[in-house]
């Protein structure tokens, strides 16, 4: 009996262990209680900082630094890009604690580390005692010792007060140096050069002292020189794996021959222009560090002092989060390649496929709507390494081909998970684009291919028989053709699109989805036609509508709305064309704007919830996570200027809508310039830019209730006027 229980126990444990080894693809989010410094108002933090630094009113430069850095840091801490009480951050702090334990003098600055949700490979520190480490960096590090070295370097910046010194020095340089022209008459920015020189000196000092901090720990130092290479090649993905175009080929589809790259560009070190950089050249940093390490004994030192498992966990979570971040940052090709890497590194998984499907969807939509420039992936020629094959393939495909590819890839996902509403929305959107942008009005356009899959090469055998001499005499095009035949791609792009759906053309689900998508396209076409009238009657109707819209605004008939991250930026006009942000006034005005908005909502009977990072309390961690999700969604929707990006991150936003009991999200951004003087105040003189947009998270549609310049400063009265007007447009119905 005992043996039976033991075996059951072992089985349970075994299952648990197996489960724990599965790739954790849940999004990295903050949890627990928010730190005090996040929920304290910046004004209070500024006053505390003034006391701590013992800065008098006469020291205007340091005063200004504290003011600006406190407010900028505060905005970053509340932005949703910083993680709190997350497992990765906890691990980074434990590693930092190892460094601090070996260098107790550091402790008096109370340093702490936070993880930044960005794909950029970076770490930086602020004088307030905070080290930020990006997920992009964590995804690329090789071991814990390297992380400890990065943290040691950043801790030096904190201990030495580099950021404040640099700020003060920059101001001094700005005040004393004037821009001159060199002999060729070109502008020579001496101030910038001097600032960079100062910054490089600080970096060298951080390298030197940081190395000393690090060497006091028991970390292995053999791999720390490679940290500089991690930074140098930070623009490359976290691994170099040859990209297989087959990865994108679902439903037996073969990519057009033009997608095959002839040769991958070799990876060369990025050129460094030390004079114009804030950091010293990496080679010189490596040499200095090597010099310091020469002759030291590495025996007994270890690569992992905290935990190799936790390092692996942190790196894995960072790598898994990366493609999500790439999607948010509109780096779509990078998202696809990272998804591919995830599958190569951690095995096949639905999460990676979801990312790739969404990225292809994004590419197709942006390309079809003439907004390729808004995708932040570089042109394939600027990419080096194995990922270039992917960048090349994407760049070579036209909008129609990308749309078709995105359909096949996402339909394959849909077949795996037919209840996924988001995938369904993606497919409907893509079919809609076929109708709207590519004049494909039904599935009749497509035909069954005589054979499915890559065309068999007919000349491979003869190719193999070619002599080396003959091969050398081949032209470039011959080589490309031979390469493509060897890879099994058919070189007939003109019919590529028409046979795309052979495998599913008779599939009833596919046909139903296509039908729905084409109908959606027709619906959108009718809306677009309204704005592009052809007959006089249509023109009159449009004019009437525009006139009414100008006079009355829109009528949305929305009773519940969630306002996400309202922003008010107050600028003071200090010179003719010289504006300076007043942080304290901005904070006060933002508070006022929120109050006015709430009052107007109450008056008009709108049920409104405001998610304002400035009002977070310690237990509002879920709100902070929601602000991050919704802000990112809104920002991407705004990127898609000319089209409705309805399926983007739809699943997350559906959850969001359910939590806040409203499918409508409102974004409020106000930038207001106040002119100086009593009369100006009396007449509210100034200029303002106000953007208030309402988004439907279900359909991706948006309506700008305010999007205009206003010839006044947005003081209380004008805020009341504008907010009331805006909310009235939101609530009233035709």
């Amino acid at each position: 009996m005992k043996a039976l229980w033991l075996s059951v126990f072992m089985l349970v444990m075994g299952t648990t262990c197996l489960h724990s080894q599965e790739l954790d693809t849940s999004p990295l989010e903050s949890s627990g209680t928010l730190p005090e410094e996040v929920v304290t108002s910046p004004a209070k933090k500024y006053r505390t900082a003034l006391r701590n630094y013992r800065i008098g009113d006469d020291d205007s430069q340091r005063n200004q630094f504290l003011l600006e850095s406190t407010y900028v840091l505060d905005q970053l801490l509340r932005s949703g890009y910083v993680l709190y009480n997350d497992p990765v951050g906890a691990y980074v702090n434990d590693v930092m604690e190892t460094v601090i334990a070996a260098n107790p003098s550091i402790r008096e600055k109370e340093p702490r580390a936070y993880v930044l949700k960005t794909s950029e490979v970076n770490a930086f520190a602020l004088d307030q005692g905070i080290v930020f480490v990006s997920l992009g960096l964590l995804a690329q590090l090789e071991n814990e010792a390297q992380l400890a070295f990065v943290l040691s370097h950043e801790l030096v910046h904190i201990i030495e007060g580099h950021v404040m010194d640099s700020f003060v020095e920059d101001m001094k340089i700005d005040n004393s140096v004037i821009t001159t022209k060199d002999r060729d008459g070109k502008q020579f920015d001496l101030a910038e050069t001097m600032k960079n020189q100062y910054s490089r000196e600080q970096e060298m000092s951080a390298d030197e002292i940081g190395a000393e901090y690090f060497l006091k720990t028991n970390y292995d130092f053999t791999s720390i020189v490679r940290v500089f290479d991690v930074l140098r090649y930070g623009h490359l993905p976290f691994d170099e794996v040859p990209f297989e175009l087959e990865y994108l080929q679902e439903l037996s589809v073969t990519l057009p021959a033009k997608c095959v790259i002839e040769e991958i560009a070799p990876i060369t070190p990025p050129e460094e222009d030390e004079e114009n950089s804030t950091h010293p050249a990496i080679d010189s940093r490596i040499i200095k560090l090597r010099d310091r390490l020469t002759g030291l004994d590495n025996e007994g030192r270890q690569e992992f002092l905290v935990s190799s498992e936790r390092f692996e966990m942190a790196r894995q979570r960072a790598r898994v989060t990366l493609p999500r971040l790439f999607l948010e940052e509109q780096q779509l090709s990078e998202a696809i390649y990272t998804g591919f890497l995830l599958e190569k590194t951690y095995g096949e998984n639905a999460y990676a496929k979801e990312i790739v499907g969404k990225a292809l969807y994004g590419w197709a939509r942006f390309r079809s709507n003439g907004q390729s420039r808004d995708v932040n992936s570089p042109r394939w020629k600027k990419v080096q390494g194995e990922s270039q094959a992917l960048f090349h393939a994407i760049n070579k495909m036209n909008a129609e081909e990308l749309t078709l590819l995105a359909i096949t890839y996402n339909y394959a996902r849909y077949q795996q998970e037919p209840n996924n509403k988001e995938t369904k929305a993606i497919l409907i959107d893509l079919f809609g684009d076929l109708y709207l942008e590519h004049d494909i009005e039904s599935l009749d356009y497509f035909k069954m291919a005589s054979s499915v899959g890559p065309t068999e090469s007919t000349s491979v055998s003869s190719e193999e028989e070619k002599t080396e001499e003959e091969t050398e005499s081949e032209s470039k095009l011959d080589k490309i053709q031979r390469n493509q035949q060897r890879e099994g791609y058919e070189n007939t792009p003109t019919v590529w699109d028409k046979t795309m759906f052979t495998a599913v053309l008779n599939d009833s689900d596919f046909r139903a989805l296509a039908e729905e998508g084409f109908d959606y396209g027709k619906e959108r076409q009718a809306e677009i036609d309204f704005y592009e009238p052809e007959t006089n009657r249509e023109r009159t109707r449009l004019r009437k509508y525009q006139k009414q819209r100008e006079k009355r605004g829109v009528s949305l008939g929305i009773k519940r709305v969630t306002v996400v991250n309202p922003v008010f930026i107050h600028l003071d006009q200090s010179g003719r064309n010289d504006y300076a942000m007043d942080f304290e006034k901005s904070e006060a005005q933002q508070q006022l704007m929120n109050d006015v908005l709430a009052d107007c909502a109450k008056d008009l009977g709108v049920s409104m919830r405001t998610l304002d990072p400035a009002k977070l309390r310690a237990d509002d961690v879920d709100e902070l996570n929601d602000i991050a999700v919704a802000s990112s969604w809104v920002s991407t929707q705004l990127d898609a200027e000319d089209f409705i990006y309805q399926a983007y991150n739809r699943a997350d936003m559906e959850d969001f809508a359910e939590r806040y009991n409203s499918r409508y999200v409102m974004s409020v951004i106000a930038i207001s310039v106040a002119k100086r003087g009593l009369l100006a105040k009396l007449f509210s003189s100034g200029e303002s830019l106000l953007l208030m947009a309402v988004f439907d998270t279900e359909t991706g549609r948006r309506s700008y209730v305010k999007s205009e310049f206003i010839q006044f400063y947005l003081d209380r009265a004008f805020l009341q006027s504008e907010m009331y007007d805006a909310l009235n447009q939101v609530v009233k119905s035709n």
Partner: protein
């Protein structure tokens, strides 16, 4: 023209009715309010406001400036448009020195009172493209039409000592008809209102008006009493220029 106040009343009622019908579609004014009252004091310059008579020609007022009190009831029809029912009154004093027909009287000070009732149409504006601010705050521009009544009344008699002032007044009353004349006009107004709190606004503005007098025959057919003289009002129009300062209160 005596029906003008009625016409103004009907027009105002019509505007209110129409805008109420469409109230659901329109945006009301500031913070959803539709009515506001405004009281203003307007130092106004009267240009070419001359008094003429058979014995006096082109006599200007002692001072061309009058402090004009003005009150208005305003109704916001939609967002930035509002109509106003306005009442105002001004007074000017003319020194009539050539009064030979009144023996012993060297000078008569004649106080001329102008009362105007008008209907104004205004909108709050914004120079940049986009919808305007909600009335009544911000810059406003508008025009108004009005009907007015001018009346003159002597206030002081300066005598040479041969008659008492009371006698002079009695003789004036028996011999003269006080001038009384109607006029119509229009004005263009522009200015700015700043909210002092959620309900009270401070207004500052300029007003350019033009009064056109309807008749110069201000004297009635004199009764059997001896006609000594008559004061008439110049038939030409008179321009006004005023600076308006006041307070507006948002009602409901």
């Amino acid at each position: 023209m005596k029906h003008l106040p009625k016409i103004i009343y009907l027009a105002l009622t019509f505007c209110i009715t129409i805008s109420t019908v469409h109230a659901q579609q329109h945006v009301p004014g500031f913070l959803g309010k539709r009515f506001f009252v405004e009281a203003q004091l307007a130092p106004t310059v009267y240009y070419q406001h001359l008094l003429s008579s058979s014995v006096v020609s082109d006599e200007p007022p002692r001072s061309p400036v009058s402090i004009v009190p003005k009150i208005s009831l305003n109704y916001i029809t939609a967002r930035s448009y509002y109509v106003a029912l306005e009442l105002e009154q001004s007074q000017l004093t003319h020194e009539v020195t050539n009064v030979n027909n009144l023996a012993g009287v060297e000078q008569v000070d004649l106080r001329v009172t102008l009362r105007r009732a008008g209907l104004g149409f205004y909108r709050t504006t914004r120079r940049r493209k986009g919808v305007s601010t909600l009335a009544p705050i911000g810059r406003y521009v508008g025009t108004r039409i009005f009907y007015g009544q001018l009346s003159g009344k002597p206030t002081t008699f300066v005598t040479d000592g041969s008659v008492t002032e009371q006698d002079a007044m009695d003789r004036y009353d028996s011999g003269y008809e006080n001038p009384e004349v109607g006029f119509v006009g229009f004005a263009i107004a522009l200015g700015n209102r700043t909210m002092l709190n959620d309900q009270i606004a401070l207004s500052l503005g300029l007003d350019f008006g033009y009064n056109l007098f309807l008749s110069s025959q201000v004297y009635s057919d004199f009764n059997r009493r001896q006609l000594v003289s008559e004061f008439t009002i110049d038939r030409y129009g008179r321009s006004t220029f005023g600076i308006h300062i006041g307070l507006a209160a948002l009602l409901f």
